[in-house]
Symmetry: C2
Subunit: 345 residues, 2 copies
């Protein structure tokens, strides 16, 4: 039996082995992915991102438990992919696994995978995408994709996910403001975790004014924005709006949800906001647009990787070394050297 | 006169224009860089990285002022490159400029440049490297390269810099520990900023134990580690060690320096630690090794970019579109699609 068919039958060990092959980008891994790819498309992908110190891992933990225990949704199978792009040298994400395991250990409907960067630009995004595809084909209905840090990895996640949560927390310092500006634009739902900390009002006010400055939907419909209540995300607060110009097209303004993940507070409301966003994606037709953008971005990335590995296999190391030495002697600029190396190929 | 020769004569406007061309990766920008490249190699590059909330910008500000005012060093010309990989959509780094300008405004020996990501993987690293080359050729003796966030960008910075500072601050939350593990391995000097905050002892203890666990040099020479004093980095504390096995080769253990950047405290000590590291690089021969690694990494990145742009220019958009549609219909997996697109090229 192929590893792909074992995985489709629910074999966890075969799945774990395939994920390792995907991470290592082996030929076998790619063949299995090709076999599994037609079975993908059933999972709902939730991206979770935010600065260090916001309590992302606890929140992901609680969301996973919520989806497992939800009676309304019929106890969905949940996978967690924790991506740690800041650990290029060590496999630093292992710690996260152990912390999470306490609550989710032994539950056959949960699968947790940590991934650390392999040091290659783009390599992590390619591997994460493949891992998510495999989990999707394996029948996990919810896939939570968590990243540590704030950077290109988050943008790539926004492309992978149907709904992207951006997590904030009160009292994380001053220059965090600068971070948020860019990251806000990928947010579908904003979460203020650790909402029992002092300064939560300031954090919410700052987020709200940044939303008004920075979010394209909000810029267009500023007059519609208003305050939401504490620890609540009812239909009012979720912020689905109808444009006055095109009344048939619903628009999405990221709601702000307060949570205290360590105590499980605000988690049902957050799950509600995610569900509202899912419905919005389907009603507005944005779902298929996101699917298109995601596959387009992934294809671009894979073309890059394929071009590079083909070039590496065709270029003798001595040629590369000779050109590099001319750069070191300042005879060639790096761009000239790259042109020369690629021309020969 | 070419823009390159204007820049070599100290024309700031020509320099600013070239940096924009480099950011936009224009043909003119690449030609000017090729002309300037033989003049590079004179600058000392200092990378500054750390989580949000650690006060990196203030610290970079104070270091710039220190190098400008230093009598011992004869008032060096200082450039600051602030890289913000978390702002892929907006040009979020502009704020940083304005904050900094208050202290450094109008000083002709200072040049400040903010850069935001253009959204392309690798594009920011390529652009930053080009900007640093241009500033180097323009005669800036110190180049401070600052990044926001924690991720691949920091690793790329570590490759660009001679000395990499990793900034921490007390009281930034719990899961920050997970971040540090990877980022610590690129640190040449560890800085605890905001050292007047409660919890500074805990932060230093945590850093020290992580150093012992995680740093390759420290792992090998654990028995040599010891405590440093408060706000001091004298020769004792800088931690240059001689291996007992190979007495002729000096080894570097990252010292921990406490600072309060907003009050200028600890800045001379930090500058001292940087100078010690510079001497270490020269004595140990690591300088030329780092130079080689840096140019190697840059050449790899440029080969990738060149391969992709050549491929784009050769591939008709219709072909790409057709293959993408087959992926969307799940007839081809993304890897198969990439293989097919590259094969045709």
């Amino acid at each position: 039996m192929t590893s792909a068919s074992q995985i489709l039958q629910g074999n966890r060990l075969a799945l774990a082995k395939l994920l390792t092959q995907i991470e290592n980008n082996t030929t076998d891994g790619r063949a299995a992915l090709a076999e599994l790819f037609p079975k993908t498309g059933g999972a709902y992908r939730i991206g979770v991102t935010g600065a260090p110190g916001t309590g992302k891992s606890s929140l992901v933990n609680q969301l996973a438990l919520h989806f497992r225990r939800s009676e309304a949704l019929g106890s969905m199978r949940v996978a967690v992919v924790a991506v740690d792009p800041s650990s290029p040298f060590t496999g630093g994400a292992i710690l996260g696994d152990r912390v999470r395991m306490r609550d989710l250990l032994g539950d056959p409907g949960v699968f947790i995978r940590s991934m650390a960067s392999r040091g290659s630009l783009g390599g992590l995004a390619v591997a994460t995408s493949g891992v998510v595809q495999a989990l999707d084909a394996a029948g996990f209905e919810i896939i939570l994709i968590e990243t540590v840090g704030a950077g290109q990895a988050e943008v790539d996640i926004a492309r992978l996910a149907h709904t992207t949560l951006v997590i904030e927390a009160p009292g994380l310092g001053d220059d965090i403001q600068a971070i948020k500006a860019g990251i806000l634009e990928i947010a579908d739902v904003l979460v203020i975790n650790k909402a029992d900390r002092p300064g939560v009002e300031n954090t919410e006010r700052a987020l709200r004014s940044m939303l008004q400055l920075g979010h394209p939907m909000v810029r267009r419909f500023q007059s519609h924005t208003r305050e939401t209540g504490h620890l609540s995300t009812d239909n009012e607060a979720v912020g689905m709006k109808t444009s006055s110009e095109k009344p048939e097209l619903p628009l999405w303004i990221p709601p702000i949800v307060r949570t205290i993940a360590t105590e499980g507070q605000g988690i049902p409301e957050l799950a509600g906001a995610i569900e509202q966003h899912r419905q919005h994606l389907q009603l507005s037709g944005e779902w298929s647009q996101r699917e298109l953008n995601r596959l387009h971005a992934e294809l671009d990335l894979l073309v890059r990787e394929t071009l590079m590995s083909r070039w590496l296999s065709r270029t003798p190391p001595e040629n590369y070394q000779q050109v590099l030495e001319r750069v070191i002697r300042r005879e060639l600029s790096p761009w000239q050297a790259a042109d020369e190396l690629v021309k020969e190929c």
